[in-house]
Each structure stands twice: as structure tokens, then as C-alpha cells.
């Protein structure tokens, strides 16, 4: 079916309940386009989602999917991919899901370098719980639980990824549909863990990190002539607190994905009808 797959084949018949204008619409459309463009179809694709507005994505997309518990989407995705190297795995989450409760898993997923993609819808706020500070909120961003701002610096997910040994780090903007879909597609095509932080504005609760803000400030790395294979250059743009970038910050040309490092290449869903033929050898070891 893959030759004639259109991105709408990845759309379910469930209407999204996101607020009108939410960045997640554009983020999801880009993911679907990227999956279709890379020759995948819903029956060989597994989408894992976390909790929050971003977590709803599994419902609105059509594929094999799991909508899990808060912060644990990455381990699920890794388990799927390790068991089934033949399946395309994409994990979607939000900034709270991925960089707060799931931060530990993020670091370890990055260093394992499993061949999958991870798309984070970063709106710099907790939307579904109605507007509290998230780990990427600005330190002076006033919310119901941080009336004077969080008073702590935001997490820099790109830097966290780089420090953890990421082999692919990118950032995109939900509203720049073409670029966003391209960047996600590159993450899928990357031989290893493809990480994309997506600016996905929350039109209801975040009046600072808005569409206009990103439109006005976003610098495209491609136009800047950034060399994604240059680690030092990547470090520079990632640690540059003064600018918002889109594009691929870093890609390790020598990335060796988990399954190659560990010889995890078999379809684990197939097993014999009874114990394996040589199973008595397992018993004999105990003589």
C-alpha cells in the first residue's frame, strides 16, 4: 500500500478537540506528511504519545498507536522498536511530558540512539491543566502556580540532548508547515534517534511565545549556512540564548543506531508453538 499512501491516510476520523488555532494541528499535519513521504503506511507505523494536549495526537492519527501514562512515551517507543525493527516508530510528546516528568527517560533514550523519531510539541506551558509553568517556560513567566514567574531558568532541551550524546537534534515551528514537515522527515530518515523540538504555540494560555513572536524572531539555520555536522557550531547555536532557531542543529554522520550496536534485528513477535528445539540445553547447563 506504501506506494500510494497519502498523508491523509494517517488521519483518523476523530475530530481534534484542540483549541482553534493550536500549534498542535500544524505539528501533527507535518508528522503525517513526513511519515507518508518516507514511504510508511498506517499498518507498519507505531505512534506513541504521552499525556497532555500533545498526547491526544494518537487519537487523531491513524496507525498502530499507544497513548500511555505521563512522561513514559519514550520507553514504550523504544520497546516497540527493539521488538520490531521492521516497524516505523514515532514518539510524540509535550514539553511537560518530555522535559519534566519524562526528563530522565529523554536522556537515556537519546544515549541509546534507537532508530526512531521523537517530536516534542513545545508550547512552553501546561495547557491541558489550564496554564501552569512548564520546564521550558521563561523564568519570569507568570502563571497560576508561579505568580512571580518560575524564577528558575528554563530547560534547554537541545542542550540536554547534545550533552546526552544525541546524534540528531532539530527544531521546527508548527506554523512553517513545509519546513516543519521537512525537518521531521529528516528525523525519520536519520539512522538513529531523531529528535525534533517543535515550537507549537498555545493560543489560550501563552501570550508570550506566540505565533507572532516566533515569526518575528525565528532564524533558519539553513539560510545561515549552518554546518549540521560541525559539533562546535551546533554547540554554539544550541547554547545561544539570544536567538530562536529552526532547522537541524546537529547530525552525527557516524551515528550507529542501537539495533546495530546490539544486534537487535529480529522480529520478536514470532515464536515456536512449543519450547525451542534445543531448549533441553538450557537445562543441561545446570548439571
Amino acid at each position: 500500500m506504501s506506494s500510494e499512501v497519502r498523508f491523509t491516510d494517517f488521519k483518523s476520523d476523530k475530530q481534534p478537540t484542540w483549541c482553534p488555532g493550536c500549534g498542535d494541528f500544524g505539528t501533527m499535519n507535518g508528522m503525517m506528511k513526513a511519515l507518508a513521504n518516507t514511504g510508511n503506511d498506517p499498518d507498519n507505523t507505531f505512534v506513541v504519545a504521552g499525556i497532555g494536549c500533545s498526547g491526544k495526537i494518537g487519537t487523531y492519527m491513524h496507525s498502530y498507536a499507544l497513548h500511555g501514562v505521563h512522561g513514559r512515551a519514550l520507553p514504550v517507543g523504544q520497546g516497540v522498536k527493539m521488538a520490531r525493527p521492521d516497524i516505523e516508530v514515532m514518539v510524540a510528546g509535550g514539553d511537560g511530558d518530555g522535559y519534566s516528568i519524562g526528563a530522565g527517560h529523554f536522556v537515556h533514550a537519546v544515549r541509546r540512539n534507537v532508530d526512531m523519531s521523537y517530536v516534542v510539541m513545545d508550547n512552553r506551558i501546561y495547557g491541558l491543566t489550564k496554564g501552569q509553568a512548564s520546564p521550558t517556560s521563561r523564568s519570569d513567566f507568570e502563571t497560576s502556580t508561579t505568580p512571580e514567574g518560575p524564577k528558575q531558568p528554563p530547560v534547554n532541551p537541545l542542550a540536554l540532548a547534545l550533552a546526552s550524546g544525541a546524534t540528531f537534534i532539530a527544531q521546527s515551528f508548527a506554523s512553517d508547515a513545509m519546513r516543519h514537515a521537512e525537518i521531521v522527515q529528516e528525523a525519520i530518515e536519520h539512522d538513529g534517534f531523531g529528535f525534533v523540538n517543535v515550537f507549537s504555540p498555545c493560543v489560550t494560555f501563552n501570550d508570550v511565545d506566540t505565533y507572532d513572536y516566533f515569526r518575528d524572531t525565528l532564524v533558519d539555520l539553513e539560510e545561515e549556512g549552518h554546518d549540521r555536522h560541525d559539533y562546535e557550531a551546533a554547540k554554539e547555536v544550541i547554547l545561544d540564548a539570544g536567538k530562536e532557531y529552526q532547522g537541524v542543529m546537529y547530525q552525527n554522520e557516524n551515528s550507529v543506531p542501537y539495533h546495530e550496536q546490539h544486534g537487535v534485528t529480529e522480529d520478536m513477535s514470532e515464536i515456536p508453538d512449543g519450547a525451542p528445539e534445543d531448549a533441553m540445553d538450557l537445562v543441561r547447563e545446570f548439571y
Partner: protein
Amino acid sequence: MTEDLNWAIGGEAGDGIDSTGKIFAQALSRAGRHVFTSKDFASRIRGGYTAYKIRTSVDQVQSVVDRLDILVALTQRTIDENLDELHDGSAIIYDGERSWEANIPEEATAVDVPLKSLAEEAGGAIMRNTVALGAACEITGFDVEYLDESLEKRFGGKGSKIVENNREAARLGQEYVQENYDVDLGYDLETTDNDYVLLNGDEAIGMGALAAGCRFYAGYPITPATNVMEYLTGRIERYGGHVVQAEDELSAINMALGAARAGARSMTATSGPGIDLMAETFGLIATSETPLVICDVMRSGPSTGMPTKQEQGDLNMTLYGGHGEVPRFVITPTTISECFWKTVEAFNYAEKYQTPVYLVADLALAVTEQTFPPEAFDMDAVEIDRGKLVDDDTVDEWLDEQGRFRAHANTDDGISPRAIPGTIDGAHMSTGLEHDELGRRTEETDVRVEQVDKRNRKVETAQAEEDWDYREFGSPDAENLVISWGSNEGALVEALDYLEEEGVDVRVVSVPYIFPRPDLTDDVEAAEDVIVVECNATGQFADVLERDTLTRLKRINKYTGVRFKADELAEAIQTKLTEEVPAQ
């Protein structure tokens, strides 16, 4: 004299106590003798008292007793810790040349062997334990040659020179005792032609998993469950599987969940604190109807409790843990060989009923070894049942009018079809949210009730279709009924012999299934006296049985951190039988 020998080696952690004990246990097993081992260890890497005990007989042995016949003591503390178990016929092997002044109790025979000097003569002081093994062979009339293969197995990887040196060390120990002592404790350890294998419960669980087709294991190291992961590592790959050491238990269970949804038979194993961490995902697994085996190797709790000590305190957690109400199976192997078979069952039930299965073992089962004839693990008898797995040809009958796969179809038996990724037209979403037949979120009251009922109906189906029987020992018609679960079975079965000598007739029922479980109402009602034996303070299973049977039961509870001993249990049962039944 007696053919039932109790041997131990003790010293500080890091002294090689474990491997020395294992070498002797393997040698005895290879000589066709039954072996049952137990370990005393502290939660530290070096230092602290640690001991490896072996009970061996030509007859089957399946528990520890309060008697020590030969003790290899590397420290005074080893002697002090075991004073109660020494008797007139005990011998203590120790090294008088070492700096400590051995304070040997009067009744025991002191066998002073220059372990270190003889080891040095054989090639290195590190082999002093092997010298002690040789000495022990001489005292027990056990041919030192039986050690040779075990030494090869233990040290073969380090080169033939090391193996040769160790063999020499054993012989020097044997000869030293022969030449300098005239100890006759009356032992002449008989050997047989029987074939035995020697393994512990964790290994049996790992082996059961491989036999059952487990291909994916994710876990986080925790005592006493880590051996399951260590066993699978390096072996699961032979079958195309993989073991991941996750960053924590939350990740471990979620990875296993991912692999299970991808179609692999998956497992994670942990102990009490890890089960707590996994509880949230446990609910997701049940609600999304994912087949997964979660093994809890219990240790003393609560919190971090006593990590290296025995307890059966997690039953309530596995039975009731997690928010909301979810179907689950709780299976509790009662012996080391049952650890194997119940693991195989656990995988079948998980897939057949698409629900998490708790496989609950305890430290006493997990870390101690026992001999079995290899037929006890007859791989030809292993059957695999993958349940309602659909494929490209059978998926059609489960599609709705719009061609969408009904992953949570409301069936009579509560079990829905299962499509794994790659199955054409099987694509669907699974979620921890309440959902409709298609897996889509819903809060509609009718659908909610339908799905809850559907999931719970799986348990009813299983209850009716499967054999949730108990194991039975002793006199079938006895008026006294003793009920237990988990590792207490071995000690109880041996306690029957002691009780018989005292003229006490007892029927023992050992329960390997806690949920679903056998209905014991008739058994309880027919008995004059009913005692529930468990290694916890409050009697968690006794509570369950009281609720089931509406009858007050007597309880024997041990929560010292030490497993039941056969003779101790016999005494406790006798005492309990004379007590009044507690008030209603």
C-alpha cells in the same frame, strides 16, 4: 549414621563464600545426591557476615533444618552466628594459623587446617576455601574427585593452570586431615547414578521465560530479582531476543509494554519497591489489554526494608495495588521447579487473556538452589497459547462497517482479538483512557460499563476454563488443615515427617494461584482446625481466605527475615493446634 548432612561455609562477604558453596553443591549434585542450599547474606558488597549452607541427602531435601554438621568458619562470627545449630557431632574446620583465636564450642570437634599455607603451597592464598572443601570431603567420606568437575566449571574460564591448582589445593586439604586427624563423625556420603540439575528460582523463572518464547526483557537491577535478568542476558539472544537494563523501573515496565504491543512475549522482573513504581503503568497495561508478565521477587519490606531477607509481604500490593479496578492474575510458584512451569503458564495467560500477570516469587525461592531430575523441566511438555492473535486473513471478521479494527470488541468471553503492528487493516489506538471498541476515548456511561464488564469478564472466563488447582500433601482425610502459598511448601512437606513421628495427622494445601484461586470453602469447612502459614506479619493470604470462607482461621506468621525451617514449622503447628480459634 545419618545420610542427611548439613554443611556450611561462612565468612565475610567478598571471601568467595558463595562460589565455594556452589562448587561443593554442584559436586554433591553430580554425585547423584540431592542438595538444598540456603544463603545468609547482608546488604553490602564486602565485609559483614555471609554464609552458604548446604543440606544434602540421597533422599529429596526441600528445606533447611536447625542443625549444622560441618562448618567451615573463616571468621569467629561464623561460629557465633551458628552456635544454636551446632551439636555433639559437629565439626568446625578453621585456620588456626590465622590471626583470629577461634573460640570453638566444647561440643564440636575442632579441625584446625592451615588453609592459607596449604593454599599457598598449591599456588596462591586465594584458594584457601578450596583447601577447606578438600578437608570437608575427607571428614564426610566424600571422594575429593567429585570436586574436580565443579572446579573446572567454576575456574575453567581462567585457564587450566588455575583449575589444576585448585584441584591440588583440594587434595592438600584432604590429605592434611587424613594425616593429622582421626575424625570420624560417622559420615560416608553415599553417591548414586542419578542425574540431577541444580538451580535456583530466579534461574528457573528465566529458563521458563525462554521456554515460553519470551523475547524481550527490560528490568532495573534490584535484589533479589536481578538474577532473572542476569540469567536472560547472554541467553535470550540465542532465540533472537533482547535484554535491556532500563534507567529505572518506570522505563522497564513501559519498554516491556511497548515490546508486548509490538507482539513480542515480554517480561519485567523486580522486587517490592520496583512494583510500587510500576503500579501506574500496571493500570495502563490492564486497560489497554496488553499481555505482560510482571515478576515480583519479594523481599522484606516496607520501603527498602531488609533487601536481602525473606518475606511474603507484597501479596496485597499485587492483588489490590493500583488505582481503579483492573483485572489481573496473581500466580505464586511454590517450588523452584514450579517457578519454571508457572512462568510458562504466566506467558500463556497473559496472551490468552490480554492482561498483566503477576508472577510472585519470594527471596527464599529465588536465591536458594535445589536439585531436580532434568525431567522436572521437560521441554516437550511446554505448550504455547497465543490467544486470539489475528493475522491478515482473519482480521476482516473484526472490522466494523467502516473497516476499523475493533481491538476492544465486546465479546462474550471478554477477550477481544489482538492485531500486532504490520497486520494489514489492524491499525488501532490503545490507551489508558476509557475507550470504546475501537480504542477511542469515551466517557459515555454505557460504553464505560460495557468495557469495564468486558475486561472483568476475562477473569470469569479464566476462572471457568483454567485449572486453578492447589497442591496437596500429607493425609487427605486429616482433620487438621494447613494452608500456605509460595516457598513455604518445601518446609511444610518436610514438617509432615516430624508431625507424623509425634502422631499428628495433617493435610497440607499449597496454593500456587492467588487470583484467580481455588475455592477452599469446602476444605476449610470440613477441617477441624485450619492454620494458614505465611512469611509476613499480618497474614495477607489468611485475610483473603477468611473473606472467602467466612471462617476465622489460625495463623502462623514469620517476619524475622528468615524462611521457615521444617522442624520449627512442625513445632509451631503443634502449638497452634492446641490453641483456641480466635473469636469471630
